[in-house]
Symmetry: C2
Subunit: 430 residues, 2 copies
């Protein structure tokens, strides 16, 4: 059997489903058994708290999420929670007394797969998303499911009485271990990613309107082909992003009427633009807006129309902005704790020679391409993340795999970062 | 009110529906009332026969179809049947006795909209499609309808006892009046299209496989983006077809998994290639096959990849051929009858100066871009078609419109062509 094949069953644990309830029950029982008090808030977020020497200050948290994509993997999110629970065990087994409490958090519906808003519950906690809006989100899996987040929280018994907010459940810091979900660490043979922040990104829906016409009876000259035009736009967005060392991606495309012998008069597609800096995302967006308008009008852009047949008819294009997530910059203190823990584990020294971005062969300073609950946590407390390699960069897929050594590295760095942060707090008295 | 707006209610008369039964009943009663014998065959094709002076030879037929697209127009097919019925009235009103019988045909399910095979009943008549295969076609509108062509023919009482074949129901000739469904006649301000044949075409389904990956965490270098690759292929097919003065069109495109933040690993799309000559269609297909393989492998083709980011991962592409319709060449005698009738009507002379393809400003020798029942009829008897202009070339749409003058032109030419053909038969004694 291929390495890792035994874990390729994947995982389908949609948020607030019966299986999610089982995982939540496990989390509650396990953490309670480890001596923690476990609170649940109005979004079902679970907070396990292990007391420290002094308990008049908020805990230092570790955590992530236990829900998955419909056909997800066994590491995305799950590793971050289970490694945090393991941290509690290690602290107990070694009779460690922290200066302040240490917590573990399981955020609800991070994936946004069942209730279509990613990181919604950390968003409510941070005050960025209204509770009512989150509670009213309807399940999209299965289709036509009348359930909302609130009715499902009630049904499985996880509509907590604690208000969902950073004020009701304060955090001194938030550390999140996660698989990279990209190929860089594996490709560069590095063990740990020290995450400095999260890319800026914007999501758009583009609508291209042309005119339905018969594929056999309509010459190129008389067509307003919405799909050919959309194809040119997708290619243009890629070329523009490549020029800026940014990313542009289309993951959804629908058309009408959808018949082999009808030129589509209507196409709608998603556009996801990302870059480490907000300015870069904005520049790519601006260039795409100009290019798409030109392409809709039949003009040549980036040589894409070279060799195309001219047409006397044009298409129209409309932009809708669906989501804007500015670049997130994590907290220097948290990043330093992750880096020190990684260096200590991997190179046997917590004072590795840092030359610019080179922190040693063991690790890499990274910007996360994907969003995480840490983006919202970072709005209300110092935050950082730890990445570990996953095979081929594959995620959101049953073949997602991180080997046991990588998982152990991540858990060790998570523990080390939390302990270091607590120590720093003790030294400062905060 | 805009000219024609009163007819823009469109028409939804799916084959073998209750409303199609009403239209059939009307056809039967009207033609019987005009002194015709009306036969129905095993595919529900209706044949009305007006006796001639001699009835030992097959009738000269005019006709088309009465079914429509789900949201179709009021002219496509319908004009050809109603003008043929009008022909019967004019012959009666003027006490015309033809040498041989004259017939009117209403072909079943030409559109292939409800039962997914276009021109299926003329195809069975011609011996090109097995009766059983046609009878077993399942209704696709509404979805999950258990009805088949046979059960629906039985239900509405139009499963005729006459075998569906050119031997049981022979035709001396087949003339079909149809709206152009393209913009050429209108653009060139011509009244009548004399149709010499139907384009060659091939339909394919292309499957592009790459790898699902996270839009944020996966660099261009590590992607196998099936949608970006498919977009390049659609653009390439257009450029290759343009070079050959042929047509290439994509009307259907589906992808998986379909999420804004996931690069699609799976795309399937249709490709419809057309040209007047079989050789041209084959040449475009061959060049597309080569170009698509190169694009899937990440190679540059037709400069499409200029400015694209390189990737170390590739996609695969598979072709499936769904339908091949070789070029149809109509019969010289029928074409000559249509041309003479058109010239007589429009220029007042049946001996217009023909210079090559120039048959005078009134008309144009054309190749039909779309398939019609005449394609199958032509396999078993001399055939030609008459086109009249339709506004903006729009068809398969509620806004489909041909003005009353164009409809009258078409009906006049249809009558004139049938009468001329009958006269020719009389002179030859066949």
């Amino acid at each position: 059997m291929r390495v890792g094949a035994e874990t390729e069953t994947g995982m389908s644990r949609l948020s607030l489903s019966d299986t999610d309830k089982q995982a939540r029950d496990w989390f509650h029982e396990t953490c309670t058994g480890l001596g923690c008090k476990v609170n649940t808030d109005a979004m079902g977020n679970q907070f396990a708290i292990r007391p420290g020497l002094s308990n008049d200050r908020p805990p230092t948290y570790a955590g992530s999420h236990l829900d998955t994509q419909p056909t997800g993997g066994r590491y995305d999110g799950i590793l971050g929670v289970t490694a945090a629970v393991e941290m509690l065990k290690v602290l107990n087994d070694n009779w460690v007394e922290t200066n302040y409490p240490v917590g573990v958090v399981n955020w609800t519906n991070e994936e946004g797969a069942r209730f279509p808003m990613s990181m919604v519950s950390s968003g409510v906690w941070a005050g960025s998303i209204p509770l009512e809006k989150a509670h009213e989100l309807r399940s999209v899996i299965p289709a036509n499911d009348p359930a909302t987040m609130k009715t499902e929280l009630q049904r499985i018994g996880y509509l907590g009485e604690v208000p969902c907010s950073w004020e009701a459940t304060p955090m001194a810091a938030h550390f999140e271990l996660h698989i990279e979900q990209g190929p860089i660490l594996e490709a560069e043979d590095r063990r740990v990613g020290v995450v400095q922040g999260v890319q800026s990104y914007k999501w758009f829906t583009l609508t291209v309107k042309g005119r339905d016409s018969h594929t056999g009876a309509t010459s190129f000259q008389h067509r307003a082909d919405a799909l050919l035009t959309a194809s040119k736009m997708i290619l243009a967005s890629h070329k523009i992003a490549a020029k800026h060392s940014a990313l542009a991606s289309t993951g959804i495309l629908g058309l009408r009427p959808g018949s082999t012998n009808t030129v589509p008069g209507f196409v709608q597609f998603s556009l996801d633009i990302r870059a480490p800096q907000d300015e870069t995302v904005n520049a790519v967006e601006a260039e795409c807006r100009e290019a798409f308008s030109s392409l809709a009008a039949g003009e040549n852009v980036l040589s894409i129309n070279d060799g195309c047949a001219p047409s006397s008819r044009t298409c129209s294009v409309e932009w809708r902005t669906d989501f804007t997530s500015p670049a997130t910059h994590f907290h220097d203190n948290c990043i330093a704790c992750v880096q020190a823990a990684g260096s200590d584990l991997c190179s046997g020294s917590s004072s590795s020679q840092v030359q610019g971005k080179d922190i040693g062969a063991w690790g890499k300073l990274m910007t996360s391409g994907a969003g995480h609950d840490s983006v919202y946590a970072n709005k209300r407390c110092p935050t950082s993340m730890i990445f570990v390699p996953c095979r081929d960069g594959v995620s959101h897929n049953p073949t997602e795999y991180s080997n046991p050594e990588a998982c152990a590295d991540g858990a060790n760095v998570l523990l080390g970062a939390v302990v270091r942060y607590d120590k720093m707090r003790g030294e400062r008295g905060t």
